[in-house]
């Protein structure tokens, strides 16, 4: 029995065309979406480009029925449709893959698929369901293991399962919200390629929100660019150049030039990691025999598929996770990730998800900026008596120097935008003398201006002689910033190469574990 037979006859198995007409959404005084009209022809792969806050999410949320637009209409296959809530969108065959997974971690892939069905039977006959799932998967371009809990699947498999879920529910207009941010370049290319082929066969229509020009150019047919809630351009991919698209996205904002790589003074400290073992939450060795030496004035980029020990490595080095075995040496001296050692060896860090890993969200910007210095003069006298005024003065200075946009130094830091939280942390970590810098995914989810700014700051530190360990899931970022590249696979360095002349495919092959 095929999936088509299981489904109500009214639902087509062809990708529909979709059109928004004059879509407008106002939140209070903020016009999040201003008269946006976008046309996605049937069987095409459309890219939605724009900076953070440009209105891409608002637009797709209006399409999906999470928001009711104040003005404007939605046409599916040329007919105007009303979508009042996500259920309506689902019934019309419009499905969305979110940036964060919407799978249930403790359920298996099969359970996730069946549970997502609105018409799941009250008592589930697993033998029958399994058979139907197998026939469904046979018709799909990719498959996932059905019987393992989703929590044990790799990010790429989860992403595939998310897409499979939409197809399983017979949703033929797919909206993808930055679907590749958790994937390796290889996985991303595979999934996007398969989706494009399905679209060109007319089976689905895809609209993808993306930041990555490379993917847009390789896989998409058309592009629409949003800026400040309005559609500012668009056209055929291939006719538009990257430069033109970038210009539309950024408008007149000034982007900081990336700092040039200069020969650093070889006076700083070196970082050496020897035979490091770190356990993950499940008690397995996520970092297993990791060896790396970073010289002063050098950025070593750690590339790898997420889940190969990168987070555990960074957490261990920043003192968030115990080191099971192995040594960390700075200038040939034993380094233990404790507060006094951080201070003595001048070790600083920009962990991933800074709001979670580097700040106390409910404390003020000023307090968060004082984490390194609150127990030292001038903020603390006699080591325990804190004075708020020097703390605020320091914060005001850092806010001005690092261009952090916050209403006041006393605003809770969680009220700041992602880019500004990252800048506040950057200000705290980089405003003093840095010998060793540990950076993880510093630009995740940030806009162009912030990205350029943050990368330039990291390069500045290198040029001043700091040893920089850069862990990133963005291979382009690693290629741009690093002096040497180390590929991490199953917790150890699988491949080490100078960045100059490094080859993407070779790196990709080692990332995949070959």
């Amino acid at each position: 029995m095929s999936v088509a037979q299981m489904l109500p006859p009214a639902v087509t198995t062809k990708g529909p065309s979709l059109e928004t007409i004059g879509m407008t959404k106002v939140f209070g005084s903020l016009v999040a979406l201003n008269d946006v009209s976008i046309k996605v022809p049937a069987g095409s792969f459309h890219a939605l480009l724009g900076e953070n806050g440009a209105g891409k999410s608002t637009l797709v949320k209006c399409i999906m029925g999470f928001y009711i637009p104040d003005k404007g209409a939605l046409k599916l296959d040329g007919q105007e449709v009303a979508v009042h809530n996500p259920r309506d969108a689902q019934a019309l065959g419009i499905g969305m893959v979110y940036q964060h997974f919407t799978l249930v971690p403790s359920l298996t892939a099969a359970e996730n698929l069946v549970a997502s069905r609105a018409d799941a039977p009250a008592v589930i006959n697993w033998r029958k369901e399994r058979r139907e799932l197998e026939t469904f998967l046979d018709r799909m371009p990719f498959r996932v293991p059905l019987d393992r809990p989703v929590s044990s699947l790799a990010a790429g498999e989860k992403q595939k399962l998310e897409i499979l879920k939409l197809l399983y529910l017979n949703q033929r207009f797919l909206i993808l919200d930055e679907p590749t941010s958790v994937l390796t370049p290889g996985e991303a290319d595979e999934i996007l390629g398969l989706l494009r082929d399905m679209a060109h066969r007319g089976e689905i229509t895809v609209a993808m929100i993306s930041h990555k020009f490379r993917e847009v150019e390789a896989f998409c047919d058309d592009v629409s660019v949003l800026r400040r809630g309005a559609k500012v351009g668009g056209g055929k991919v291939g006719v538009l150049t990257t430069r033109e698209m970038a210009a539309m996205m950024i408008g007149d904002a000034v982007i900081r030039q990336s700092a040039a790589r200069v020969d650093p003074p070889r006076i700083g400290a070196s970082l050496e990691i020897a035979g490091l073992f770190v356990e993950n939450d499940e008690g397995r060795d996520a970092v297993a025999g990791f060896d790396l030496k970073i010289k002063s004035g050098e950025i070593v980029g750690i590339a790898g598929v997420s889940g190969n020990g990168q987070s555990e490595l960074v957490e261990a080095l920043s003192g968030q996770r115990p080191i099971k075995m192995g040594q960390v040496l700075i200038n040939d001296q034993d380094f233990e990730p404790k507060r006094d050692h951080f201070y003595r060896f001048k070790v600083f860090g920009l962990p991933e998800e800074p709001l979670k890993n580097a700040t106390v969200p409910t404390m003020s910007v000023a307090e968060n900026m004082a984490f390194r210095s609150f127990d030292k003069p001038p903020i603390a006298s006699m080591k325990w008596w804190l004075s708020p005024e020097p703390m605020r003065a320091q914060a005001r200075d850092l806010i001005a120097r690092y261009n952090v946009k916050t209403p006041t130094p006393d605003t809770p830091i969680r009220d700041l935008s992602g880019g500004n939280v990252q800048r506040a942390v950057l200000a705290r970590e980089l405003s003093v003398d840095v010998d060793v810098l540990i950076v993880a995914n510093p630009c995740f989810g940030l806009d162009f201006v912030s990205v350029a700014d943050i990368r330039a700051q990291i390069m500045d530190q290198r040029n001043r002689g700091a040893a920089v360990l850069l862990v990133s899931e963005d291979l382009d970022e690693i290629l741009e910033l690093s002096d040497r590249i180390a590929v991490i696979s199953e917790g150890k360095v699988a491949y080490l190469t100078p960045a100059a002349g490094a080859d993407r495919t070779t790196i990709g092959r080692y990332m995949a574990g070959h």
Binding site: P86, Q90, T102, V104, S106, L107, A115, A118, D281, G283
Partner: protein, 305 residues
């Protein structure tokens, strides 16, 4: 001496069966509630109220089974109250649970005063020891039907969590509320229902206390069984079948003290009475690694976040 050992073991078996039943019901109720991502610490209060209502209903109607049912209804009412209060924004389920615990016991004591004296009809038990000559074995195997009902409920619950749509919905809500909402499931409604059903089971557990063993109503009836059952759920790692095993183990340990006393060993009586508590501590420390229980823990529980 061998006789003595046999007596102790038989008494422990009987104790395990008797003492474990309320644990089993409360733990199963709590297990269901926690599977949906909410903690109801108020089940101690539900247990006590269930015991009182069961005794009163049995006294007035003359039917102990009507008492059991009334206890379940009273428990559901408390569960529903917990569930609807927790729907309100910014309400913490643990704090509400503690309030509900005090509320439940308070209400039970208030209305239970007149029922301390009279005798209500008790639940009949099944004499399963008829084949044996030993009177101690006979009395040990005098099993209350609720014991088997509890085991059946555990089996059904374990099966339903895997094989029914409702089971998948409950686990989805318990593990990822965001995913549940994206599917159009009303998270609050599911949690309200699981808390209500959990309350029903805990109320029935209370009925066992007053209508079977110890079998009378007074204010010192429950010595924290409701709270211990919540701990049992963690120990059982949110698996209904393991809840039954944990309850039996706990019941057996609780019987050590009285069993030793019955063969004349009075030394360390209080120590042996504390056995279940010591045993729980020891087992908890020995078997539960924080990492392992974290993996089975529903992701939405407030203690998981």
């Amino acid at each position: 001496m061998n006789d003595g050992l046999a007596t102790v073991l038989i008494a422990m078996l009987g104790g395990a069966i008797r003492v474990s039943t309320p644990f089993m019901f409360v733990a199963l109720g709590e297990c269901l509630t926690e599977k949906s991502g909410r903690v109801n610490l108020g089940l101690e209060g539900t247990l006590v109220l269930g015991a009182m209502v069961a005794y009163a209903a049995s006294y007035h109607t003359g039917s102990p089974w009507a008492g059991v049912f009334a206890a379940g209804v009273a428990g559901s009412a408390l569960g529903a109250m917990h569930g609807s209060i927790c729907k309100l924004p910014k309400v913490n389920d643990v704090a509400v649970g503690i309030a509900m615990m005090l509320f439940g016991t308070g209400v039970a004591f208030f209305f239970g005063k007149p029922y301390i004296q009279p005798t209500a009809p008790r639940l009949p038990s099944l004499p399963l020891g008829g084949w044996s000559d030993s009177s101690s074995l006979k009395s040990a195997l005098d099993v209350n039907p609720l014991f088997f009902v509890g085991i059946v409920i555990a089996i059904v619950m374990a099966w339903a969590l895997r094989n029914t749509r409702w089971g998948l919905v409950v686990r989805t809500v318990g593990d990822s509320a965001a995913a549940a909402r994206a599917m159009g499931i009303s998270v609050d409604l599911v949690r309200f229902l699981t808390t209500t059903v959990g309350g029903f089971l805990a109320g029935v557990g209370g009925a066992f206390l007053s209508l079977s063993y110890p079998g009378s109503w007074n204010q010192g009836l429950s010595s924290g069984q409701g709270l211990m059952a919540v701990a049992l759920v963690i120990f059982a790692r949110w698996n209904p079948m393991r809840c039954v095993i944990a309850a039996l183990l706990f019941g057996g340990a609780g019987a050590i003290g009285p069993a030793l006393q019955s063969v004349g060993i009075t030394q360390g009586y209080y120590f042996f009475n504390a056995a279940p508590y010591i045993l729980t501590l020891v087992i908890m420390i020995a078997t539960s690694s924080a990492k392992r229980s974290a993996r089975d823990m529903p992701g939405e529980l407030s203690m998981a976040r």
